[in-house]
Amino acid sequence: MAEKKVFEKGKMVPVPSVSIIPERDLGKSPILECSHLGIDFGGLTAVNEFNITVGRTEIAGLIGPNGAGKTTVFNLLTKVYQPTRGTILLDGLDTHGKTPAQINRMGIARTFQNIRLFNNLSVEDNVKIGLHNQEKYSMVSGILRLPKYWRQEKAAHERALELLSIFDMQHMANYQAGSLPYGAQRRLEIVRALATNPSLLLLDEPAAGMNPSETAELMENIVKIRDMFQIAIMLIEHDMSLVMGICEGICVLNFGQIIAKGTAEEIQSNPTVIEAYLGKQQ
């Protein structure tokens, strides 16, 4: 019976991790609550008993050794995989049975570990794909180029440039996305995700392949995005300087289980985490 109650939307807040929500978000309801989340692939349990609560404007980190199930968690949150067990409440609403496209419209946007831009489209068109659901005109007015089409396309164009300007990329609007340098592609992916107007942004290894100075810039930008859009950001990252530098709550995953949760200091001194990363002390 206790299990069933969780399905009633927004009524029961899962117990764990409330303590790591930053103080400013405590008065508001959390943006994401996962309880008892899990998925099996055949006989293999990839993620189990994943409980987490993310505050409205929290920057949360998800870390763990390779193969711990971090990207699987992102795929569960965005419904690329349907979870075997448990519930995900987004802004108090149950996401059970939703498709990835519906989840996006509910407010989760993400980037990918291996960049997945639309390489043959221009930079601006990539951002406009993110704006797809905010442009409202019918196929008929699109084909006949009715005034509504012009108005909406103009608005989308301006919005796209505005979003690109966050990363100073407006001059690249007409470049082909696939021809951009690596770092710019990573930034464009973030812009495209932001264009969908999310309330929770998932970044899958945003600093992968970046040098220390690029990573430092990225850290500033992630905080800047959070402050500008007032959204929650959850990121998977192996670069500890980034995670420890900007994440307010950190969750450590190993073999599909959460082994530790807490602030940067708590995680750094947690013996279980050290053991997971470095092995047991002899």
Partner: protein, 300 residues
């Protein structure tokens, strides 16, 4: 002059192929499947406009609109019933299903309209009321271009321009291109992939109806297998131009029409199709991804 007239007849035949090929190439580009029933949708379009004109006595242009409406619905229904449940299946299963749908449509047409050919009244009759050829006379009558050919070419160009604009500059067109590149990423950006695929089928089928009317006007006869050979040739045209590419389908269609027309005129009527496919083989040997197709190396 003779050559020019064959060339023009080739271009207008090629324009029909191009319109059909656009349907193949768009569906392939987005759903990554070969819709072999596409040729039979053309035939259905032809029959619908035939019925509208001879039984309901509607004017030609209205019969085209009706055929487009029916084929659009037919295309979406075929996609929803036959292909959508197979979205996760292997491409071979979908291919076989498409061939099944093709036979189903042919046999259904045979049950409804009978196997014997029907005489189709062309949209633009070959002779006008005075009994003169309905054609544009140039160079003191040495070169005569039928108005029908001009109409076909004009329609083809309009369709081509409209589609280029649609895929390039409208949000639905962009969603289609996004889906054709990466469906997974597209749906995580909030795009309803199933709906986008349905729209693609709808557009392709509406174009098939237009092609059906033009084709029947060209050949002036109609039977349940009318669509299969032009369907296969248009598929060839799409591959020829680079499947998945809209300008490729256009170019491939026109070139194929010209080759067919010239081969019929100067080499042999019977060997025309053999020559056509031989050219395809040669092109594919030299450029495996077609004339305008991009070579995409398999990622490891």
């Amino acid at each position: 002059m003779e050559f020019l007239s064959y060339l023009i007849s080739g271009i207008s035949l090629g324009s029909v192929y191009a319109i059909i090929a656009l349907g193949y190439t768009m569906v392939y580009g987005i759903a990554k499947m070969l819709n072999f029933a596409h040729g039979d949708v053309i035939m259905v379009g032809g029959y619908i406009s035939f019925c509208a004109m001879s039984y309901l006595e509607l004017p030609g242009w209205l019969s085209v609109v009706l055929a487009m409406a029916v084929c659009t619905v037919l295309g979406v229904v075929i996609e929803g019933l036959a292909y959508k449940p197979l979205r996760q299946a292997t491409s071979l299963a979908v291919l076989i299903t498409a061939i099944g749908v093709s036979y189903f449509l042919q046999n259904a047409a045979q049950l409804i309209w009978g196997a014997s050919p029907k005489g189709y009244t062309p949209l633009v009759p070959a002779l006008n009321a005075k009994g003169e050829p309905n054609a544009l006379q140039l160079f003191d009558g040495q070169l005569s271009i039928p108005y029908l050919s001009l109409l076909i070419m004009a329609v083809c160009i309009i369709v081509m321009v409209a589609l280029t604009f649609f895929t390039g500059q409208t949000k639905l067109g962009k969603a289609m291109r996004a889906c054709s590149e990466d469906k997974g990423a597209a749906q995580l950006m909030g795009i309803n992939v199933n709906r986008t695929i349905s729209v693609t089928f709808a557009i392709g089928s509406a174009l098939a109806a237009v092609a059906g009317v033009l084709l029947c006007s060209f050949t002036t006869s109609l039977m349940p297998t009318t669509g299969s050979m032009p369907g296969i040739k248009a598929f060839t045209a799409a591959v020829f131009g680079g499947i998945g590419s809209i300008p490729g389908a256009f170019l491939g269609g026109i070139l194929l029409g010209i080759i067919e027309s010239l081969a019929k005129a100067y080499i042999s009527t019977q060997l025309a199709n053999a020559i056509l496919f031989a050219v395809l083989i040669i092109v594919l040997l030299v450029r495996p991804s077609g004339l305008l197709g991009k070579y995409v190396p398999e990622k490891v």
